[in-house]
């Protein structure tokens, strides 16, 4: 059984052209942690750094088996959802088709599989982005603004999904109001 590991962020500095993000003494030890903060406080930067997608100074100590959901991913919009998922499945050694069906059912996308991605609404595209991230069997899921554009039902389903997968760790950013009483989670303010 996987036990939730601690993630620690110390002396973290990411320099951009016009500003820098400095973070220190952050600990993530809950199964679900929500990172909150104002625009530009470094929420997305921290997730990207945790996913090893950007260069930074400082220490991030954590399990490197992560799956990352980018807030602004552009999906290949001219193809159908089925082609999109088939492509991702093709990269897996052990193709997990059942999980796609499970996640598409959970996020009410099962009847949209034959539709082109550009015909989907913004919320549905967020769900597709979420599914592609959750599809990977990893220890930690880093979700950058997963609630953006989601309806209440989907927010409920996502929180439920996270609660059910207690052997996984979820680190989420959110700049919008999110009722943290809905789930037992840690909150980190930047």
């Amino acid at each position: 059984m996987f036990t939730i590991q601690e993630c620690k962020v110390n002396s973290f500095v990411k320099r951009y052209k016009n500003h820098e993000v400095v973070l220190n003494g952050l600990t993530f030890d809950q199964q679900i942690t929500i990172i909150k903060g104002e625009n530009g406080s470094g929420k997305s930067t921290l997730l990207k750094a945790m996913a090893e997608l950007i260069r930074y100074d400082g220490d991030i100590v954590m399990n490197k088996s992560v799956s990352y959901m980018h807030e602004h991913t552009t999906l290949p919009s001219d193809i159908t959802l089925q082609v999109f998922f088939d492509g991702l499945l093709g990269l897996q050694k052990k193709q997990n088709k059942e999980k796609i069906v499970e996640l598409c059912t959970l996020f009410q996308l099962l009847d949209k599989l034959e539709e082109p991605i550009n015909a989907l609404s913004k919320g549905m595209k967020t769900k597709v982005n979420l599914i592609q991230c959750l599809l990977e069997e990893k220890a930690i899921y880093l979700l950058d603004e997963p609630f953006n554009g989601l309806d209440e039902q989907s927010v409920y389903e996502l929180t439920n999904y996270m609660k059910q997968h207690q052997n996984k760790m979820f680190i989420i950013t959110s700049h919008i109001f999110f009722d943290t009483s809905m789930i037992e989670c840690g909150v980190v303010y930047l």
Binding site: K48, L53, T73, L75, S77, D78, F84, L91, E136
Partner: protein
Amino acid sequence: MIRLTRLHINYLLSEKVFLFTIFLIGLSSIFLLYSANVGVSESTMMFYQEYYTKQLMIEMLNFGKILVIVYLLFMMIMGYVIHQYDVMILNRVGIIKLKCSKMLAMWFFVLYLITIYFMIFVIIGVYITPFMVISNQYFVIYGEFLFFGFFYTMVFVYLYEISKHLLGLIAGFMFYLIVFIGSVDDIQKEDVSKGMQYLYRILLDLGYYQGEGVGFYYDKIYYLALILGSGLIVYFLRKNADLIN
């Protein structure tokens, strides 16, 4: 790598790409038919067989080069600027594998277009014109064309990797236009101007040289070393850069 390349091809082979490819193939057919001088009498064509053959080949070359570059620009915009799905793939594979597979996918599209273009050329040459005789020479030209496509695929990818902007791709297109406009066909290599000689040191062009036929100004090995060397420079320039914005 093959599965990853297939993923890129599947993601990029959209209706838009298909229609644009069909449009270019149609345009090529019309151009090659026009270049085949269908209105000229058969006896005249046969009398000036060498002239007409050379003329058709030079026109096929020039149109084909622009075709490849325009298609490459279009595919690069589709694959790198419009559909930025790389971050999802980075969840699954390493950056080097991702970049190489995407480059291979681009090269595949170019290869596909060049092959169809050549088939149209051969069909028109054999069935429409009375003068063209199929020989090994055309397979050699096909090979040279593939190398041309490969070289510029790499150039476009490098320029995008350095600039991370559409302007990088447009710059690649402009660079080629300069080479294309400056190139003169059907002259001897010794007669190539000094300016063009310098330009050919960094960018290749496929030309028709008197006495040598279709080829590049410098040897292919030189251009291969040039493009691989440039690849190393791009790698070291981007090595410490962020993988995503």
